[in-house]
Symmetry: D2
Subunit: 338 residues, 4 copies
């Protein structure tokens, strides 16, 4: 049997939509019929070979794939046919190293990443390690589960590691596919949020989602405005620019925490040592989240605590969708529906 899949054949060429055989699940794998697959900026980096360790060609990107298990490998016991699951960035981890055993599996040195080291979700079918897919609870639609699978869990984890708590103020820089979720998680952790963006549309969205304050960084000075509010206890930056990271640092109160999530092209942020030391500030790198974190993300959504803003596209629109993301013309997360 064949399926359609988006395939990267060269780092400098558009993706091709190919007809290729549906893969067979190995002993520990499940075969998932994909219903929805979210488009993450990382997919574009993968397809362009932007990062030091490049994927082996050809490959199918996508690490927000959500669908129904159609087949399970011979050794699979934890999952069953018919379950809806998500296939996240952490496609596999060793399960025995100190990171895996101590609740930090996203730092496992043996991890395999979906849509990068192994084929991902931008296809009609995908295989995935049974232990690393995460069940999607009833009441969470595939199209909403998809963005939660990376954008959701990544920002949820960022909020978690920040130690944010009620009565603190969190500034979220960039209210897009990730930022609008970061804001909601900050609120769920009890904080007051400040949304920072450069378009009024996004700031209106942030307000609707419950932001206590909004700052237009195109027309105003976010550092001055946030300082005027008393400063931020936590800043989470989804805009992948060193300059924004530096602004975010500057708007922190004493004891504040800056969480790094996005990966700017210019890798280096200039960190002011004096202010960091005297302010007792921490800068915290956070990378996606564990399976337990993703289960929590789904649980919050099933309980009606979050709203996912997305638009759907068809899989054969993948190249124009990439362009939309790169042009920042897209208002929210894009999700391919199969």
């Amino acid at each position: 049997m064949n399926m359609r899949a988006a395939v990267v054949t060269a780092f400098d060429k558009p993706l091709e939509i190919r007809d290729i055989p549906i893969p067979e699940p190995e002993a520990h794998q499940v075969l998932v019929r994909i219903e929805a697959s979210g488009l993450c900026h990382t997919d574009i980096h993968a397809a362009h070979g932007d990062w030091p360790v490049k994927p082996a060609l050809p490959f199918t990107p996508g690490h927000e794939g959500v669908g129904v298990i159609e087949k399970v490998g011979s050794a699979v016991t934890v999952r069953t046919v018919g379950e809806r699951v998500a296939i996240p960035w952490l496609g596999y981890a060793c399960g025995t190293c100190e990171y895996c055993v101590s609740g930090r599996e996203t730092l496992c040195a043996s991890q395999l990443n979906t849509g990068y080291a192994v084929n991902g979700g931008h296809a009609e079918y995908a295989v995935a390690h049974a232990d690393y897919v995460v069940p999607v609870p009833d009441g969470v639609s595939p199209a909403e589960a998809a963005p939660l699978t990376c954008a959701g869990v990544t920002t949820y984890k960022a909020v978690k590691v920040s130690g944010l708590r009620p009565t603190e103020r969190a500034a979220v820089f960039g209210i897009g596919g990730l930022g609008h979720l970061a804001q909601q998680y900050a609120q769920i952790f009890g904080a007051e949020t400040i949304a920072v963006d450069i378009t009024d549309d996004k700031l209106r969205l942030a307000e609707q989602l419950g932001a206590a304050h909004t700052v237009n960084a195109a027309t105003g000075d976010p550092v001055a405005e946030i300082k005027a509010l008393g400063g931020a206890d936590v800043a989470i930056v989804l805009a992948a620019s060193p300059r924004v990271l530096e602004q975010a640092h500057a708007c922190l109160r004493r004891g504040g925490r800056l969480v790094l999530v996005s990966l700017p092209k210019d890798n280096a942020m200039s960190l002011p040592v004096f202010e960091t030391v005297l302010g007792g500030i921490s800068v915290i790198g956070s990378i996606v989240g564990t399976r337990a974190d993703l289960a929590e993300v789904f649980r919050l959504h099933a309980a009606g605590r979050t709203e996912v803003i997305y638009e759907t596209r068809k899989l054969d629109e993948i190249n124009s969708s990439f362009a939309e993301v790169l042009d920042s013309t897209v208002p929210a997360r894009l999700v391919f529906e199969m």
Copy 2:
């Protein structure tokens, strides 16, 4: 009655040793007859007016003053004449702000710093707020208590905020007045230590103090050598140079923590975002320590858990002592004995 005091009269002139009146303690103050007063690099920054907010001239620097209480102000109840106390950098904090009340008094916005905003310990006498001097327990000599009062508590706190624990590896960059204490505290928290310095003398000292590994950064590549050992879980940098901070970051394992303590002239460290995010790394600013931290530092020393390396100088050698520190010709902390 008069006393001798080292006085900064201009930011571009040497200090003068002057005969000035012994100050009278105000209601909440104690008058301390100084026995020993450690020389911290910050004293030099204060005397040179290096930092944005400069001290008001004239003033007496010194925030490692240790001595005996000779007089107490009318409202003092917590301290008594005859007690030996240390007068640390945190000369006063408000006691009521959220930082003071939540155990983070070193972040108090109303704090007054000894030897900077108020006269410090490089004199025969000093007055200090009774609530902010810290008793020196029996068995801790004034000359040893002095370096512990800033160098000790600063590095102790740095280790504390790093979350360092047994079976972890801590790399200490710069085995001088602060570094040799940082190393010992890392060991007291149960860790294995790697000492990094550019002179073999310092590395021999580190070995005697219990370092598991030493790295000469002048003749070898500290990043490569520490990575070969498996990387560091925690790096504490006492060498005030952005390049060393960047090396320290590069030698961290996944989940590692870089603690910033020293203040480089070139304020900006270049922070690699990609490595910080993917490695789940934290960069933590730490500023001196609270009174409770200093009491712990003294308690450890009284219990024989630390060794303080220092040399004594006379107060009228203060200008040559500054030169020694700036030339890096001094093997350890300098302490003025009165």
Copy 3:
């Protein structure tokens, strides 16, 4: 000038409403004209001399007094005439011991408790240490601030020390003056709440306040019902009975935490060791909260995040009010309005 005050003259007699002189603030004190003063069960224990260390007679109970500063002592700088403040249980702490300095002032061995060691808020005026009164922000009425001053901060702190976080389930046993606030704080920390009480009125209130589940412990088995929901991650017990504490322990999931707040007459709870060890369960004692905690409680209320259920009484109804509380006929916190 005179004022009316409720005075305990003997542990076995009703309180007297007396006309006594308005106290003069000492150097570090403020004089507060009380607007509202909440009635806490502890007031009754104080008036009856129930606890090992009894108050010195005669005295005025009350540690939820809220009012406006009319006079400040000669040494007061942090507060000013005209400010509205609350006078909580922690009337004074030393400010220099390890507990005070490390953010745990409620454990200070030198603390003086309001309405117990020093006269409290059940009067037209009260003096209090300026550093230990807590400003009441605009938008929080005296009558609402009063219950927040003990019932609020106590339950807020209980939730805080439990480490409760989003996606966890918190069971609150006893939806009265404390419990209805505990429930709301648990929700603010992001958790799903289970309200347990023995009257349907209280459970209806809990539902209105956002409880996800309610359990009537008079008609059903709370352990079985909570276990059926998957168990509780955190249980907070406001019903002062060993049997309820034991039930609360039994309804915890693995890794669960039981927070002790209320003080049962029969002091001893029977703790099952086997279940505690195998379940990795913690039992945590929590006593009121710090000034910083109370400031957070007020901030949440000013932001519209909490609702305070109370009824007002006149000061000369204090003896019948005590009876109402003892008979459990009162639907919520009682507040004396002056």
Copy 4:
């Protein structure tokens, strides 16, 4: 091929030493030739069927088995023939539940326990799940690794969850097979230790191992003596008696933590609520440790940080060894050498 194994055939009969076939490892298992196997009190509970859920008969107890891998199952990739490994109490956990994924695998509801649900180490050979055996580093002998595999990791974890840190005081109640290790771990975490026992021999051992204070609970009052030292910040109780647990609670300072590890016959400890609340005390249940904890325990021993006191026995002495443990005539951990 046959092997000798100690077999429980009935809960009311002595164990039999039987000749039975060497088991074949399943796909995910390894076959370990046992060199040393420590005797834990839990083995006796297992053999007697003391606990609610009893092992299925017949079975071989032992969860401190250490030996060399002789064969690996077809799907095993993480372990290789020739490696020395330990087979701990946690023989298997699901690897996918919230506990397993968040670093708390010892709370996994699907766990299988070695020497209880599956055959254990009191035999010449044992099979074990490859992912759950823990490598024994060079320089750690089998006879020393054995007690570390349960007694070591259990007490190490107890110290870890207590949050014990330098300058704190830890009281260890019962200096036997577990206690002498608990004391050493407390010291490695930087604390000052107080050893409590009823025999002077044990207290002398504790002194040799570095205890700062010793208390003979047979001839003195441990609560009074520990209070005279200032009280304990942490108490760890290895003597399985409710009365000792209650004493341990009574000797805590404000903010103290009591860690429950041992399982007394009389399951119920009487917990004083008043003292727990006012003292801000926590009671923490702790059950063995994870694979990562055990790896840390081995690493500390390989680094020369711990000393293991044990005596060896032959496997066919198992019944008399049980008797020795029950009579408390044994001075330390017993280890069967095969």
